[in-house]
């Protein structure tokens, strides 16, 4: 057994670590291996979650509460969620896990050169990447967390979110039990602009396009649908901006002035209607998108941020990547897809008589 059984640097993870560390952490490890810029950090294994549940003696409580849930009965879901959450929040994080988190956080602090660097504490769901996508929006992330103690609290809050009403309802629906999760802890990126990019046009399925949604501040506003983001469609082949729709972006999430947590703020009038990405930024995004697509060998939905006051492309950081689901279907071959067959159908001569 290693000296730190519950944590590992993100850079040391690969796809095979997904069952132990969750899809998000494993993906971040793979992105780092592909030399794609990712904020440094460490991952917590599901062993930490299991240790927590076991040492606090919560196994029985959780099983009992979940047994009372009947899928489709919202009240039973909410009541189980509430009871489990209450019990988890009042249980301590095991000492061994706390010590490992403190050590890993300390190493991050050294890397950042700050005593108590702000970090993002993010849920990393178990199972395949696709499942992570299904969980999207159900599992919590905590931003701008400072100090080892607060990181531990945020880790526990992530675990609690595994028993949020939507997550319970979803698992009851698909018949899955014995949930577990990993957690990723990364140095916080003070995002001036952030958003999502797809390595294809998710609406049309066009693989030659990169579709970008972007807004001011941290990614919450875009992912949570709180603003209508600026919308760009950029050709991978030539870098041309094929479509550009700039919207009024009236809110953004910024670090709290008190130094902990992120707060929702109004975007000053003069900045709302400005395009939040210029050509240089789009170029950097397309480049990163292409590299992520290449690294994973399929179309990816990539969360990203551009750090305040940093030059591009160095200032661009990838926060998460997952396969694009629900693309429009491929056109089935008609059986007459030879060049001449296609020309004939263009002239309406596909179905000749006799």
């Amino acid at each position: 057994m290693s000296a730190s059984p519950h944590t590992r640097p993100l850079a040391a993870l690969g796809r095979g670590d997904s069952p132990a560390f969750g899809g998000k952490s494993a993906t971040l490890g793979e992105l780092i291996a592909a030399e794609i810029p990712v904020a440094p950090g460490f991952a917590l294994s599901t062993t930490a979650f299991h240790a927590f549940v076991r040492e606090a003696g919560l196994d029985g409580k959780i099983a009992r509460e979940l047994a009372l849930v009947s899928p489709g009965d919202v009240d039973s879901v909410v009541s189980a969620s509430h009871a489990i959450g209450e019990a988890m929040r009042s249980a301590p994080v095991p000492e061994a896990v706390r010590a490992e988190i403190a050590a890993a956080y300390g190493a991050l602090a050294d890397e950042a050169g700050i005593a108590e660097p702000p970090v993002a504490v993010r849920s990393s769901a178990l199972g395949e990447d696709g499942e992570d996508a299904t969980y999207a929006g159900q599992l919590e992330s905590y931003l701008w967390v400072r100090g080892a103690g607060h990181v531990c609290d945020a880790v526990r809050d992530c675990w609690v979110s595994l028993f949020g009403p939507p997550a319970i309802a979803y698992r009851a629906h698909v018949g899955q039990d014995e949930p577990a999760m990993g957690v990723a802890v990364q140095l916080m990126v003070d995002a001036e602009v952030s958003g999502v990019l797809f390595t294809c046009n998710p609406m049309s399925g066009d693989p030659s396009m990169v579709a970008v949604n972007a807004s001011w501040g941290l990614g919450l506003a875009v992912v949570g649908g709180e603003v209508t983001p600026d919308d760009f469609l950029v050709s991978k082949v030539t870098g041309e901006v094929v479509r550009e729709r700039v919207h009024d972006k009236d809110v953004e999430y910024v670090p709290d002035a008190a130094g902990r947590g992120a707060v929702r703020a109004e975007v000053p009038e003069e900045r709302r209607g400005l395009a939040c990405l210029d050509r240089t930024a789009l170029e950097a995004l397309v480049e990163v998108g292409r590299r992520v697509e290449r690294a994973f060998g399929s179309h990816q939905d990539v969360e990203w941020a551009i750090a305040r006051g940093r030059e591009l492309p160095e200032g661009l950081v990838v926060l998460q990547a997952r396969p694009v689901t629900g693309l429009p279907g491929r056109h089935p071959p008609s059986g007459n897809d030879t060049a001449m067959g296609l020309v004939m159908s263009m002239f309406g001569a596909a179905d000749a008589k006799g």
Partner: protein
């Protein structure tokens, strides 16, 4: 094929009024070219659009031959030779001198299936033997041009020549009418040749476009065009020769003669004074045939002559190239870049497709590149070289008529229809033979004067982009391929907000610029274009190439991504929006506009 419930409307062709002072315009055109009461019920239900791509200006009576003969040939090849399954030919009607066209669909599924069999057989043969057939076509076209150039219009002397009296030469009566019938016959043949390959050539290209859009739904049209377009394009040769001559002028130190603002004659007379200058002129002379057979406009009107008829454009171009060379600028067409980019785009897009789609993509790209030389070269051979030569032959008949008082000026021959010219020649030959008094000199000049005045007034009228019914869908391959008239575009026309500050068209060459508009409604206004302006026109011709070095963007009423404006703008890396339907009627010269060649939009900024 996309369909949508049509929204908006077009005026009925029967409700479009005659502009004041233009009464009687109908007399210029054949009886069948009008929206008549007899066919009202059917014609009102049809969709007719203004063919401003080929006929942006009111048609002179003689020039209407380019409608009749061209649509005769289009119909023959599309309907009677290849039997394109869903579409027969194209009907036209004239309103206030402007030409509206409408396709004749085949609607019976049985009939369509039957035609499909013929089409597969006949078109399949053409595609299979393309290079061989196209090679023969070029030979045939060059022979036709040679025959036209050799055609002579006999003069009428006091006495018939000795060869008639003592030899077996035919009399002038027969010789003149033969020559006239011949000149018409050669045009018939040219138009038949013109349409022999046209639909199939565009068809392969449009199929490739559709394949790209199926698998790459957001691919900009210009990338498709860039992947297909030829490198050694005939249409770019004339300007390439001018660039060569510009370099020669500098190398042989005769470039001082090329001063901006000087006429061609002034430059030539200075060159003729020195030996080196005369050497340069000899080199120019050698280039003229065939490269000066470029037209100054798009060829379908008699007043679009060639560079031989009016060397203003080539000389302006030479002067510009020489000035650029002196300033140390690069004037070469970036052929290497075009070639590299063409192959890079094809490779990158191909790599994005799965294996099955990749096969169709590669094969259709290869087929498109095979057929494309025709699409680009027929323009030079048919529309420019043949037609500019042909109009000059008709001028010889005009000269004959004016010599005998039937016309005040030889150029007036174009104010009569081709049948009226025949009739005037008939009478001229009759009275010349009999020695009697001809009525023609009293009869034709007032008609000519009236028609010239009418055409001038009609030129100020702005035709609506379409009349008749709004179609649910455009299914005619010819309309889609040749005119870029799609369901979407037609519906946009029907919904056009007349007071809108924005005009949408087809994105044809990428980039965004703001600048001052210059609306050019005919070739004579080209000289008004100033450095840095945005050209707004019905359609441009490659012969306008020299002014593309002056402008910063182009906007046209009609045309798709393969229209000449689009091709030339991509060459010059200027933004272009084509097929707007109404740019020339909604934009004023001097107005500030923004052209977004990537989005296909034009914004009126004031």
């Amino acid at each position: 094929m996309e369909t949508a419930a049509p929204v908006g409307s077009f005026p009925s062709p029967y409700e479009v009024g005659t502009p004041p002072g233009c009464e009687g315009w109908e007399d210029l055109y054949p009886y069948y070219a009008l929206f008549d009461e007899e066919r009202r019920e059917a014609d009102e239900k049809r969709f007719w659009f203004w063919n401003s791509m080929h006929f942006p200006l009111p048609m002179p009576a003689f020039d209407a031959i380019c409608i009749d003969t061209a649509y005769q040939a289009l119909g023959t090849w599309q309907n009677r030779v290849f039997a394109v399954p869903p579409a027969m030919g194209i009907d036209y009607r004239c309103i206030n001198g402007y030409i509206y066209i409408s396709g004749n669909p085949v609607t019976d599924p049985e009939k369509i299936a039957e035609r499909a069999g013929h089409f597969q057989q006949r078109a399949g043969y053409y595609f299979e033997h393309w290079d061989e057939l196209y090679g023969a076509w070029r030979t045939k076209m060059e022979a036709l041009i040679a025959e036209l150039e050799a055609l002579e219009v006999p003069a009428l002397h006091e006495l018939e020549p000795d060869e008639v009296a003592f030899g077996d030469q035919e009399t002038s009566f027969c010789a003149v009418l033969d020559a006239y019938r011949n000149v018409l016959r050669l045009a018939d043949l040219m138009w038949q040749n013109h349409f022999e390959f046209l639909l199939l050539g565009y068809g392969a290209y449009v199929t490739f476009t559709e394949l790209c859009k199926t698998h790459l739904p957001d691919i900009p049209d210009q990338h498709i065009a860039q992947m297909v377009a030829g490198l050694d394009v005939l249409l770019f040769r004339p300007d390439a020769e001018l660039r060569r001559l510009a370099r020669l002028a500098i190398d042989t130190e005769v470039d001082a003669a090329f001063v901006e603002g000087r006429t061609a004659a002034e430059i030539e007379s200075e060159l003729a004074e020195s030996e080196r200058g005369r050497d340069w002129l000899a080199e120019l002379e050698a280039v003229k045939d065939p490269w000066f057979h470029m037209a100054t406009g798009d060829g379908l009107y008699h007043y679009y002559g060639s560079w031989l008829d009016d060397p203003t454009i080539p000389y302006a171009s030479l002067t510009g190239h020489i000035a650029a060379l002196r300033a140390g600028e690069e004037i070469e067409r970036p052929t290497d870049h075009v070639a590299t980019e063409r192959d890079r785009l094809a490779a990158e897009y191909g790599a994005l497709l799965d294996d099955e789609a990749r096969k169709g993509f590669d094969d259709l790209l290869a087929l498109s590149r095979t057929v494309f030389p025709y699409v680009e070269e027929h323009k030079f051979l048919c529309d420019y070289w043949f037609l500019t030569t042909w109009w000059n032959k008709l001028r010889a008949f005009g000269a004959l008529l004016s010599e005998h008082g039937f016309l005040e000026d030889g150029e007036d021959v174009f104010q009569l229809s081709r049948l009226e010219v025949y009739s005037a020649l008939d009478e001229l030959l009759l009275t010349w033979a009999t020695g009697g008094q001809p009525r023609g000199p009293l009869y034709w000049p007032p008609i000519v004067a009236k028609r010239k005045a009418l055409l001038e007034r009609l030129a100020d009228w702005t035709p609506p982009p379409a009349v008749g019914a709004v179609p649910e869908a455009i299914l005619d391959p010819a309309l889609i391929m040749l005119w870029g008239v799609t369901t979407q575009r037609v519906h946009a026309w029907a919904q056009a907000d007349e007071d809108g500050s924005s005009i949408d068209g087809t994105p044809a060459s990428p980039g965004v610029v703001e600048g001052v508009a210059r609306v050019v409604r005919n070739v004579r206004e080209l000289g008004d274009v100033r450095e840095g302006e945005i050209l707004v026109c019905s359609i441009t011709s490659p012969a306008w190439a020299p002014i593309f070095s002056k402008i910063q963007a182009a906007v046209t009423d009609i045309g798709g991504v393969m229209s000449h404006a689009a091709i030339v703008c991509r060459e010059y890396a200027l933004p272009a929006v084509v097929g707007t339907g109404r740019a020339t009627s909604q934009i004023r010269t001097g107005q500030r506009i923004r052209v977004d060649g990537s989005a296909g939009s034009v914004t009126l900024l004031e």
